[in-house]
Structures are given as structure tokens and as C-alpha cells.
């Protein structure tokens, strides 16, 4: 696993991609007629190619919605998302998503589930090699022929991450991917994500509800919060995280930022 993670060992024919993303005056509402509720309002921000951006915010503030518009799973009411300068229309093959739940096909082996992420254009032999490489990257070579229900939740989530990476995404969208995992598995997954990003420094949008996770992984932290008139969330703060990765999990430099982020999220006195 570690041998594969040295940058020189990446295969030349799938050079990594990393695209910039621009959210431009994005607005999104849900519900019909009088029950219609604005979720996002006038969200504008720019994500640099290769950056890891953590998205924080209270429950139901539209973190996932923002991610889903970038993936093309939802179409915004107003504004647009530009990836590498081109607007997102429908499911975008430049992106790959890993959801909070693994969402693997239970009737397929882990290997076949990862293969589902391969771009349509990839040839059978190259695809097969790539799937094996990714399974090794996430440490699941020995479980390639297992079914999702035969492995732990952490392994299923690693498979889900490998499936997303199989796309060779220019933008990796992670929707609270570690949220449902136990504390130890979560730490391993966070380390794995950093390893993967070191080898293939793609752009990552990471939705999380965990301030410490954001501070550990991200280059910048976006905080979504209520707009002026309380109708929908918008960009409340966009803060750089000081220091270079890998950062210590208990770094004192981050204490001030941590407590100010927590107070923005409505948790005081930490």
C-alpha cells in the first residue's frame, strides 16, 4: 500500500486532473408553492485547482445541496456552477461523488463496485488494471471478491472512495463520507484521504459536521450560515487553515480558529 502511495508510482496513462470550481450567485429552494423554502442564496465562491475545501454549517443548512449542484445531481434555481470554466449541466463526468453511506451495489463484488466508477471511455484491460490499483490503494486487495455485506462499514466506505477515484475525477465531492464511521475508522479514513490527495492532488470538496476534521484536512474552510434576512444559507466565512499538511491532530496553532469556527456554528465556550 505505501509503495503505491509514492508519487512516482502513479501510472502515466491516467494523469490526475484537478479543476477549479466557481459557484456563481447560486440559489436553490425546495418544496412546492407556499411551502417553498430557500436553502441556498447567493452563494459565490471560487475553489482553486487541487485545493481541499471543507464545508461546515449547521444541520440542514444546505451543505449537501451545494455539493449536489456541483455534481449535477441537483440543478440550481438561480446562478451556476462552473468547473474549469465550463458550466455544469446534468451529471458531470469531471466530478465523482462519495456519499455519506457507501451506496454500493449489494449484488456486486467490491471489485465490480469500484469498476462502476470507471469512465465509459476506458478500455477493458486498462480498467481492470486501474481497479486493482485502486483496491490496493485503499487496502482492499484481499477483499476484491467479497460482497459489500461481507465487509465492515469502513471497508465499504473505502470501496466507495475507490469507486469515486476510478473516475479519475478533476473534482472529488465528499458528502460527510466519514460521518457514520466509528472514531478509529474515521481517523484511518482521514489519513487515507490525505495519502490519496498527496498522490493525486485533485480538487476536493468535503462536506463535514466535524470542525476538527475540517481543520485537519482542509486548505480552507467554508462556513455556510443564514443570510441577512434568514432566507437560505450563504457564505458566512471563508477562512484559510494555517500550516501545511500533515497537521497534528492536537495542534495548538489551530485552537483559536477551532473555537471561532465552533462559535460560528452556535457552540460557545470551547
Amino acid at each position: 500500500m505505501t509503495a503505491l502511495l509514492t508519487p512516482g508510482s502513479t501510472h502515466p496513462h491516467h494523469d490526475h486532473r484537478a479543476f477549479g470550481i466557481r459557484f456563481s450567485r447560486l440559489g436553490q429552494s425546495f418544496g412546492a408553492a407556499e411551502k417553498r423554502r430557500a436553502v441556498l442564496r447567493d452563494v459565490s465562491l471560487e475553489v482553486r485547482p487541487g485545493e481541499i475545501l471543507a464545508i461546515l454549517g449547521a444541520s440542514g443548512c444546505g451543505k449537501s445541496t451545494l455539493l449536489r449542484t456541483a455534481a449535477g445531481l441537483d440543478t440550481p434555481d438561480t446562478g451556476e456552477v462552473l468547473i474549469d470554466g465550463d458550466p455544469v449541466r446534468g451529471i458531470d463526468e469531471r466530478c465523482a461523488v462519495a456519499f455519506q453511506e457507501p451506496r454500493l451495489l449489494p449484488w456486486h463484488t467490491l471489485r465490480a463496485n469500484v469498476a462502476m466508477g470507471l469512465p465509459r471511455s476506458s478500455s477493458a484491460s486498462a480498467g481492470k488494471a486501474r481497479v486493482l490499483e485502486l483496491l490496493e490503494l485503499v487496502g482492499l486487495t484481499a477483499f476484491a471478491k467479497h460482497r459489500p455485506r461481507e465487509v465492515s462499514g469502513g471497508m465499504a466506505q473505502r470501496t466507495s472512495l475507490a469507486r469515486a477515484l476510478a473516475r479519475n475525477p478533476g473534482v472529488l465531492l465528499l458528502d460527510e463520507p466519514f460521518g457514520a464511521l466509528d472514531a478509529l475508522t474515521r481517523i484511518r479514513m482521514q489519513d487515507l484521504l490525505l495519502d490519496v490527495h498527496r498522490v493525486k492532488p485533485t480538487t476536493v470538496l468535503l462536506v463535514t459536521h466535524d470542525v476538527d476534521e475540517a481543520l485537519l484536512l482542509a486548505d480552507r474552510v467554508l462556513v455556510l450560515g443564514p443570510g441577512e434576512d434568514e432566507h437560505g444559507s450563504t457564505v458566512a466565512e471563508l477562512l484559510p487553515v494555517p500550516g501545511t499538511r500533515p497537521r497534528g491532530r492536537t495542534s495548538a496553532d489551530l485552537a483559536a480558529l477551532r473555537s471561532s469556527l465552533l462559535s460560528m456554528l452556535g457552540v460557545d465556550g470551547h
Partner: protein, 299 residues
């Protein structure tokens, strides 16, 4: 995306946000198999009642008791031999028909009608169920019509079938086909509506659309439901076979029933009923084996 489905998507993400937080890791994966028809959940308790030979033996007790009571009637004489001929007479009737070569003809032609009608009806049920289960437009256009057709008691079609197709194989197979169609249609239609939306969305997120999404995610997800539909359809097919053969035929187990009734041959009536029970149960057991395999493979 339509207004309605957008609401649903939002409601679902909100639910998963609040509801999923405390989930232990293994629960996350088992969510997807939760609703599928898994093998008997008591199978793990390893009680004596779950072992196959024990079950077979226990299953034989009641038929043997019935046989015993039936045989004793010949001695006690509660029912006259015309009403209830003894088992040996039924056996003799069977041997006699077999010797003349008629018995196999009845069995083969009936089985053939059931299998053809069942095959065509199931395939049509699967196709129409998939179409209406997946396409909102087809659903809006056709579901009321199909619902109304299903409400017609199937024997009501008989006069029309005879008028259109005359009394031949076609009209009988068509009636069986109608009987087999609806159980498959209904189960597939309903099951496709309840495929885990998260899985379908994951498929879409990885670029699957249309037929590819259907064959990769939606159809495999409803395999257990398809098989329960098929088993219901097979039972219906045998039911409609007898109806078709009672009404108009010159061969087959249904014909054997009505012909024996006209000639007062109660022994042959019993023979036909027992054959229908045995063959019906045997075909259902075969399908049950296929179902077990499929459920293991696809969940």
C-alpha cells in the same frame, strides 16, 4: 427534475442527515439488503425443525394420515365407492390410462400449455411492469387501463377468446397467459417503485442512464420480487389451465376431469386432482430452487 421529486430528494437528505448520525458502521451497508427477501431469518437458530430431512418427514405426516383415513373409508363405508373410490381404484385407473398411453398425453399437453402460457405471460408482465414502473409518462397513460383490465375476472375473456381464436391451443394458451401476466406485472411494477433511491442516485452519479441504469441497478434490485411474482404466476397458470380445459378441450388434465365427471368415473377425477397437485407442487418447487439461487446471487 420535477417539483415533486425535488421535494422528495430534499426530504430524504434531511432525513439521512438527522437519522444517520449515530449509525454503527455495519448498519450502513445492511440498509441495502434490509428489504430484500432473504432466506428464512430463523435459519440461523439451527433448531431441528429447520433441517431438511426432518422437514420432509414432518411434511409427509398429514398426507399419510389422509391416505389412511381414505383407505379406512373402504372398510367403514361412510361414503359410497361412487362418491369416494378407494386409493387402489384410483391407482388402477391411472395404470389403465397409462397402459393405453392416454395418461402421458394428458399430462404432457397440460404441462406444455402451462409452460408456454406462463413463459409468455411472465415476459410480458416483466416488460410492462418495468415500463410502467420506470416511466412516469407510461405510468400516467397506461396504469388506469391495466388496472381496469386486471379487475375483469379472467374467465370473462373466455367467450371472446373462443370467438377470436376458435377452440384450439391459441385460445387456451392465451387465457393462461392472461393469468400469469398480472402477478408478475404487479410485483415488478411495485418493486421498481421501491428500489432504494440512494442506490439509483449513486448509479446516476456515475453516469448510468436509461437501459444501463435499468440493467445495472434497478432490475437486479428487484430480482427477489420478480421471483415471488413468478411463483404466484405459475400457480395462476395452473388455475387457468384447468379453467381453459374444463370449458373446451379434448385432451389434458382439465379435460380428464370434465370427461370423467360426465361419465361418472370418480376414480379418474381423483386421479386428475392428485396429478394436478403433484405436478403443480413439483413445478413450484423447481422455481423455488431457482428463486433461492437468485436471491443469494442478487442480494
Amino acid at each position: 427534475m420535477s417539483q415533486g421529486s425535488r421535494t422528495a430528494v430534499h426530504a430524504r437528505t434531511a432525513a439521512s442527515r438527522t437519522g444517520q448520525r449515530g449509525v454503527v458502521e455495519d448498519d450502513a451497508t445492511s440498509r441495502y439488503v434490509r428489504e430484500s427477501a432473504r432466506p428464512d431469518p430463523t435459519g440461523t437458530s439451527a433448531g431441528a425443525l429447520t433441517r431438511r430431512p426432518v422437514r420432509l418427514m414432518l411434511g409427509l405426516i398429514v398426507p399419510l394420515l389422509v391416505l389412511g383415513a381414505w383407505q379406512s373409508n373402504a372398510v367403514i363405508g361412510v361414503f359410497s365407492p361412487v362418491q369416494l373410490p378407494p386409493p387402489a381404484a384410483v391407482l388402477a385407473a391411472g395404470a389403465e390410462l397409462a397402459a393405453r398411453g392416454e395418461l402421458w398425453l394428458h399430462i404432457i399437453i397440460s404441462t406444455q400449455r402451462v409452460l408456454i402460457g406462463f413463459a409468455i405471460g411472465s415476459v410480458l408482465g416483466l416488460a410492462v411492469g418495468a415500463l410502467l414502473g420506470l416511466s412516469r409518462l407510461a405510468d400516467a397513460l397506461l396504469t388506469p387501463v391495466v388496472g381496469a383490465l386486471r379487475a375483469v375476472p379472467s374467465l370473462a375473456w373466455v367467450p371472446l377468446l373462443i370467438l377470436w381464436m376458435k377452440i384450439g391451443e391459441d385460445s387456451k394458451v392465451t387465457l393462461i397467459l392472461i393469468g400469469a401476466f398480472f402477478p408478475v406485472f404487479t410485483t415488478v411494477f411495485v418493486a421498481l417503485r421501491h428500489v432504494d433511491r440512494d442506490l439509483v442516485e449513486a448509479g446516476r452519479a456515475f453516469g448510468l442512464r436509461g437501459m444501463q441504469l435499468l440493467t445495472t441497478v434497478q432490475l437486479p434490485a428487484v430480482v427477489p420480487a420478480i421471483f415471488s411474482g413468478l411463483r404466484l404466476a405459475l400457480a395462476q397458470a395452473w388455475l387457468f389451465l384447468v379453467a381453459a380445459e374444463l370449458i373446451a378441450s379434448s385432451l389434458g388434465l382439465g379435460f380428464l376431469l370434465i370427461d370423467s365427471s360426465n361419465n361418472g368415473r370418480t376414480d379418474r377425477i381423483f386421479l386428475a386432482i392428485i396429478l394436478l397437485a403433484v405436478i403443480g407442487k413439483a413445478t413450484d418447487a423447481l422455481l423455488g430452487l431457482a428463486e433461492q439461487w437468485a436471491v443469494r446471487r442478487w442480494t
